[in-house]
């Protein structure tokens, strides 16, 4: 080709370039670092956000559906955008590296995180903990940085909860990831001297007292109205009916030191059936105000009857609870029930005083499908210094079917014993909730060696006609029980009419208090006092 020919070719090229559509030029200029794997013909994207020494390639499926239901960030109403804490890692190629050819594509809407066999956890300082949905039926959230170290032995591998309907992601609220340091705990209160051997309490041995509950943010925290009215009389004092089986407990503790308005020498665990706790109830400010005040009185509240298709009810409730600066968090279970009308259990706890073992949360076994709503369980520990000294325990939250109480109570007896055997390092199991049964109907629960219950002889529903709510535990091992318990009468406590109290719930909260330090239990140790057996 001569000079004339070369000049003509250059001219043609210039004309062609000028005539090229602007869109093509723009796309070339905006080409993403997305490459084509010439071995597999798959598109791969270089994850530029990951600060790794080498580019990390994440396979992109042909379509991008989530491998599992998307994580539900059950944060507060103004939940920040989800931020994944696990970045994908691509397994090493067994052969020579793929030859990658650039492929221009439009800018992606967001980084893509694919499941990887060995996730790398990268701190996300401002992000709330996000639980990925666990494969049914076990609800095992991924590692999270939100909780203070809970250095416990790993759970036993033998426990496999049975399938449950409609598994849901476990959820945590949008809370700052940095929790308060462990609370200083005063020296252990004097414990009763050990008995040479366990002595069974007589049937219907009565509780020593129904105690006043310290109320945070109330000028006189240790004095609340008696939890029951004439319709709900206090149980008789433990005098002659409890012969020497239990060492005497002081009827009135000295005024305890308080931390954040709560006593430092005890924690309170409550159960509360909030009837039909859904969108309707959460939309009533005066009801939510009472409910929030109830929760703030306790360190942990096991709640029954969350009934909503929306996942926003408990996060909204948590925002109301924490509006005063409190730092409560929650975990919530799956929707349970045999019909389309389903319920959820949730634990709400004061994260400044209580920590949870995230790997412990789950739904209890339900052999024979005897339980309409199998209990939700989780393991908690009181924040203490050193952490191992804090009282740790299982909570098993339950709400029986009122039409099959006898059957379900017997099934709960089995659940209780299975939970007791679940971990050799945990001897404290507290079954609590709305049993739709009083102690006389406890069936096989009463046959569990050492079993006792906190509430007896008083009513627990708002109409003051039934004793349905309780806390049940093994008095031989849960010696942390202080012997104090109560029913928080909504009417008396908040000055409500019966109509207004029923608008809050048809159940009153029921509670018991425990020492914050773990009590080592060996054979022949004293029983927890104040329980009825």
């Amino acid at each position: 080709m001569g000079t004339r020919g070369s000049t003509r070719l250059i001219a043609i090229c210039l004309v062609t370039l000028v005539a090229m559509p602007q869109s093509i030029v723009s796309r070339l200029a905006a080409a993403e670092p997305m490459l084509r794997d010439t071995n597999s013909s798959r598109l791969v994207r270089i994850d530029m956000a990951a600060e790794a020494p080498l580019p990390r390639l994440v396979p992109i499926p042909s379509s991008l559906p989530p491998a599992s239901p998307p994580p539900r960030a059950l944060a507060g109403p103004a939940a920040p955008p989800l931020v994944a804490i696990s970045y994908a890692a691509v397994p090493a190629q067994p052969t020579a590296p793929a030859v990658l050819a650039p492929l221009p594509i439009p800018a992606p809407p967001a980084p893509v995180y694919a499941a990887a066999p060995t996730p790398v956890t990268i701190p996300a300082p401002a992000a709330p903990p996000v639980y990925a949905p666990a494969p049914a039926p076990s609800y095992t959230p991924p590692p999270t940085l939100a909780y203070a170290p809970f250095s416990l032995p790993p759970p036993l591998p033998v426990y496999a909860p049975p399938p449950t309907p409609a598994p849901q992601a476990l959820s945590v609220p949008a809370m700052p990831v940095s929790l308060a340091p462990p609370l200083p705990v005063p020296p252990q209160a004097t414990l009763p001297p050990p008995l040479p051997q366990q002595v069974a309490l007589p049937q219907q041995a009565m509780l020593p007292q129904q105690a006043a509950l310290p109320a945070p943010a109330v000028p006189s925290p240790s004095v609340l109205p008696a939890p029951a009215s004439a319709a709900a009389p206090l149980p008789p004092p433990a005098v002659a009916s409890a012969p020497a089986a239990v060492p005497p407990q002081p009827l009135a503790s000295p005024q305890p030191a308080t931390v954040g308005g709560k006593p430092s020498d005890s924690i309170t665990i409550a159960t509360f059936n909030i009837q039909v706790f859904g969108e309707s109830k959460i939309s009533k400010p005066q009801v939510v105000d009472v409910l929030a005040k109830v929760v703030r009185r306790f360190d942990i509240v096991a709640i029954q009857e969350v009934r909503a298709k929306s996942d926003s009810v408990i996060p909204q409730f948590l925002s109301a609870i924490n509006a005063d600066g409190s730092r409560y968090q929650f975990v919530i279970g799956p929707r349970l029930g045999r019909t389309v009308s389903k319920e959820q259990y949730t634990f709400i706890y004061d994260s400044t005083r209580i920590e949870i073992d995230p790997s412990s949360v789950g739904t209890s076994p339900n052999p024979g499908d005897r339980l309409h709503r199998p209990p939700m369980h989780a393991r908690f520990r009181v924040r203490a210094n050193p952490p191992e000294s804090g009282f740790s325990f299982w909570l098993v939250d339950t709400h029986t079917d009122p039409d099959e109480v006898a059957l379900e109570v017997n099934a709960l007896a089995e659940v209780f014993q299975e939970m007791k055997a679940l971990r050799p390092d945990e001897d404290d199991v507290i079954l609590l909730g709305d049993l739709n049964a009083g102690p006389p109907q406890f069936g096989k629960i009463k046959q569990i060696p050492g079993i006792g219950w906190a509430v007896s002889g008083v009513t627990t529903n708002t109409r003051r006609s039934k004793t349905y709510d309780n806390l049940i535990f093994d008095q031989r091992t849960t010696t942390e029980y202080t012997g104090k318990w109560g029913v928080l009468d909504l009417q008396n406590t908040f000055g409500l009419s019966i109509d207004k109290a029923l608008e809050v719930s048809d159940h009153n909260p029921v509670w018991a208090s425990f020492r914050p330090r773990e009590t080592q239990v060996t054979a022949g140790v004293p029983a927890a006092s104040g329980l009825t057996q």
Binding site: V276, E279, S280, R338, S341, R463, L502
Partner: protein, 169 residues
């Protein structure tokens, strides 16, 4: 619900049929607070389990859980609702019939048919439970229960066996 409104349970039951969803919601919520005093509204509450509004359904279920056995005058209406295509309506109709015990003897055929033909497992299970509650007067359902006792669902089989034991030989 106060005593004054408790006495109006039947009126609130009628309000559950209102074309105004707000009125229905109010009625269902008030009845959910009435406990056993809501029994006069048993049939409308079961019907409300099929309401298009979720909150009305949930309040109705809450009321039904607490109202105990329905009045004897409600048995006929509940039998009709056993055949309702909405599983939640049928489930609660069956449940209330079971709570009625021997008073629901006239419901035995409907409950047996429910076990045979309902497409919803929870309704079939509840029907077996209800026949057990009705007891000896449900003897005509024995064949159906024996068949259910041999079926694959563990819970249905157990409830059918328990019903057969309650009916006796």
């Amino acid at each position: 619900m106060s005593d004054a409104t408790t006495s109006n349970a039947a009126a609130l039951g009628k309000q559950l049929a209102s074309s105004d969803a707000a009125q229905r919601t109010k009625a269902a919520e008030l009845l959910s607070r009435a406990g056993e005093a809501a029994a006069p509204a048993a049939v409308p509450l079961v019907q409300a389990c099929g309401d298009e509004d979720e909150s009305i359904r949930e309040w109705a279920v809450a009321a039904l859980e607490d109202l105990g056995p329905p009045p004897s005058g409600a048995i006929g209406g509940l039998i009709e609702l056993v055949k309702n295509p909405d599983p939640l309506v049928a489930y609660w109709a069956v449940t209330l019939l079971g709570r009625s015990g021997q008073d629901a003897a006239t419901a035995v055929a409907a409950l047996a048919a429910c076990i045979e033909s309902s497409a919803d497992l929870s309704v079939r299970q509840r029907a077996a439970w209800a026949l057990g509650k009705i007891g000896s007067v449900a003897a005509s359902a024995r064949v159906t229960l024996e068949r259910a006792a041999g079926q694959g669902d563990e819970r249905l089989a157990r409830l059918a066996k328990e019903a057969l034991a309650a009916i006796g030989s």
